[in-house]
């Protein structure tokens, strides 16, 4: 990607552990990969790690892409080559080599790179264009874990979560965790369609999408000279003074535009149009009134997406002009966006509908207008009538945010090969940069988790919250699973559940703390936590500071001072939160920040009454 890593404070010359970076293997569950992309060159890379047990089935691997399998309802002989583009995009965001001077027809140009250019990739093609079946996903997890990947990237999900052991991704990532493999997953793109975070298992990382300071826009200049700026990846040449037109019955769907001609006109379309209708109706361009004015899309014709209020301005021009209303659509340019990071309008929010005491999403990462590798087998707009193809493309989604976190996890792993998945997850979460609730309204941490990913800080987090299989089993007991079931899951006769009511899900040693309170009722909730010292080798003392941003709650920490005498020493504390939120659908944020004067270990706390 050409801007996002720098925006995250993770420059090309960031400190690296190169020998071990080449030992890290990232499994990509996606639409496959385009092997000939320069992002996947293996120049200078040695042979795969000796422990690798993967295979290259119907695919020519190299020392960068060291494994490739494809799954579709058990069929054999399928090709893992990427025919959609999504898989190449995510894989290059995680581990793409540095490729100078790339862009999409000059848009978003720069040096494309992944987080860990020296790491290896293993491809598990489980999605076919846009269809990803649970049985294929679980088969891929079964192989990826056994093949020996270290981290799994999963930019796949649904509109709503499912109970853990009725969800292929939650099951697969649980068994991955048992084998020391962290799964990084997309939070979901359903915020505007009533969805919630879809990947919510506490043993997987769930990533929201946010903006970077580079905003891709195009101008619509009206006949009276007024300029409207909207999000767009418009790589067509400037469309000059075309007549403006409204669809006769207000819809731009292909069948409703059929038998009408808008040849040479700029067609105004309601939200949901993807440009196919106007293209088929012979329009010269389109302006789409969008619910996601923050997201720049690639359309198959000159296009700009605008917000509702901008559409009102345009209608005012149309109504007052004495001549035929005309407009010009300019090619895309990059604007500096000083407001960033802002969570994308589409990024699924919390709360966690399965375990409300576990905050999801966990953190945010760039997911808007990300340039990364693409496949020549898919048009840049994804529209099959579009005959424009490119080696790098700009797309948006929590699919793009997820591989940023996956790449950061692989980066942390390259410095700390022995860390558990929970330790890596903790490092990413407690070092995230807090985000501004005023600019990200509607839920505080339920929108952006712990904040924006900071790979450089995650390398040296100071303290981590660890959790192993037994900790998750205790949480599952508290969620109502019984010991018999859980013994089958773990394969251990020693698996047992504490007495009913003895444990709660939010007792899990998680890096953040969430509580779902009842409106108007007083509550007191305790979060027992244990941190492991992974910071300075010698003695170190951490003191706790409480950051509270709301009047309705009180936060206490005991003890407030932790004195470590050796690495990997564990010490415990309890955070007690009490108070009452007066109304429903409210939230209050706070945080406990442990510091040794050098490192900050920040654990956000959120209390909400969101149903």
């Amino acid at each position: 990607t050409t801007r996002s890593w720098d925006f995250l404070g993770f420059p090309r010359n960031a400190r690296r552990s190169l020998p071990t970076e080449g030992e890290v293997i990232v499994g990509m569950l996606d639409t496959g990969v385009w092997p000939d992309s320069p992002s996947f060159s293996d120049a200078g890379l040695g042979p795969p790690p000796g422990r690798w047990k993967g295979a290259c089935l119907n695919f020519t691997c190299n020392n960068k892409i060291i494994g490739a399998r494809a799954y579709r309802q058990g069929r054999a002989g399928l090709s893992p080559v990427d025919t959609a583009g999504h898989g190449s995009h995510t894989a290059s965001t995680v581990a793409g080599r540095v490729v100078e001077g790339v862009g999409l027809a000059g848009v978003a140009a720069g040096s494309a790179r992944g987080a860990v250019p020296g790491a290896r990739l293993a491809i598990y093609k489980v999605c076919w264009d846009d269809f990803c079946a649970g049985e294929d996903i679980l088969a891929a997890f079964d192989d990826a874990i056994a093949d020996g990947v270290d981290v799994i990237s999963f930019s796949i999900g649904g509109k709503l979560p499912a109970p853990y052991f009725e969800d292929a991704a939650a099951i697969g990532s649980f068994h991955a965790m048992r084998c020391g493999v962290l799964t990084s997953a997309s939070a979901g793109n359903s915020a505007l369609t009533g969805g919630r975070v879809g990947n919510v298992a506490p043993w997987m990382l769930s990533v929201a999408a946010s903006s970077t300071d580079r905003r891709l826009v195009a101008k619509l200049v009206l006949g009276d000279g007024k300029t409207i700026v909207g999000a767009s990846v418009n790589i067509f040449p400037k469309l000059e003074k075309a007549p403006l037109a409204l669809p006769i019955n207000g819809s731009c769907q292909p069948d409703s535009l059929a038998r009408q001609s808008y040849r040479g006109k700029i067609l105004f379309c309601p939200r949901g149009s993807n440009g196919t209708g106007p293209l088929q109706a012979g329009a010269a361009g389109t302006v789409i009134v969008n619910a996601e004015p923050d997201v720049a899309f690639v359309f198959p014709l000159p296009a700009v997406t605008i917000a509702e209020d901008q559409f009102t301005e345009i209608l005012a021009y149309v109504n007052r002009t004495r001549t035929d209303p005309v407009g010009s659509i300019h090619s895309t340019e990059a604007n500096f966006n000083s407001e960033a990071p802002i969570v994308a309008s589409f990024s699924s929010r919390g709360p966690n509908l399965i375990s409300p005491g576990i905050l999801k999403p966990d953190l945010s990462a760039p997911g808007i207008a990300i340039l990364a590798a693409w496949t020549p087998l898919s048009p840049v707009s994804g529209n099959l009538r579009d005959n424009r193809f490119a080696a790098y493309n700009v797309i948006s989604g929590t699919s793009m945010a997820c591989p940023h976190a996956t790449g950061a996890a692989a980066y942390v792993k390259s410095f700390h090969p022995g860390w558990s998945p929970a330790m890596i997850m903790s490092a990413l979460i407690t070092t995230a940069t807090p985000m501004d609730p005023a600019r990200n309204p509607g839920g505080g941490e339920l929108v952006y988790g712990a904040g924006q990913l900071s790979p450089a800080r995650a390398r040296d987090p100071g303290l981590v919250y660890d959790a192993r299989e037994d900790d998750y089993v205790r949480m599952l007991c508290a969620e109502g699973y019984n010991a018999t079931q859980l013994r089958v899951v773990t394969g251990s006769d020693g698996t047992a559940c504490p007495a009913a009511g003895a444990a709660a899900a939010d007792d899990l040693n998680y890096p953040t703390m969430a509580h779902h309170a009842a409106p108007g009722l007083n509550f007191t909730v305790r979060f027992p936590r244990t941190v492991t010292n992974v910071g300075a080798p010698g003695r170190s003392v951490y003191t706790a500071r409480i950051v509270s941003s709301g009047p309705y709650i009180r936060v206490a920490v005991a003890p407030r001072r932790l004195a470590f005498s050796r690495p990997l020493q564990k010490l415990s504390f309890t955070v007690t939160v009490s108070g009452a939120l007066p109304a429903g659908n409210e939230f209050v944020s706070a945080a406990v920040v442990w510091s040794d004067g050098v490192r900050q270990v920040r654990s956000p706390i959120i209390v909400h009454t969101v149903d």
Binding site: G134, F141, E166, A168, G491
Partner: protein
Amino acid sequence: SSDGDEKQVYIVYMGHQHEPSDSAAGFSAAEAAHHKLLNQMLDDGSSAMDRMVYSYKRSINGFAARLTEQERRKLAGTEGVVSVFPSRTYQLQ
């Protein structure tokens, strides 16, 4: 359909894999066990070979198969089975 013989792909999750098998190997012990269990559940004369979509045998235990609702219910109550659920369709994000 009304008589419940309509089939769809279900995932039968059986937890920890006690006998991880190499993917290159032939019919592993885990796979044989999945087929045996499935054959015991089928009541229309078809064989597990016809219905099996995947046998998860390398790091997870379980299988995916085309089942009727009635067969699903029988499997769900079987010892060693954690859950039996319809295989969902997911989307790229």
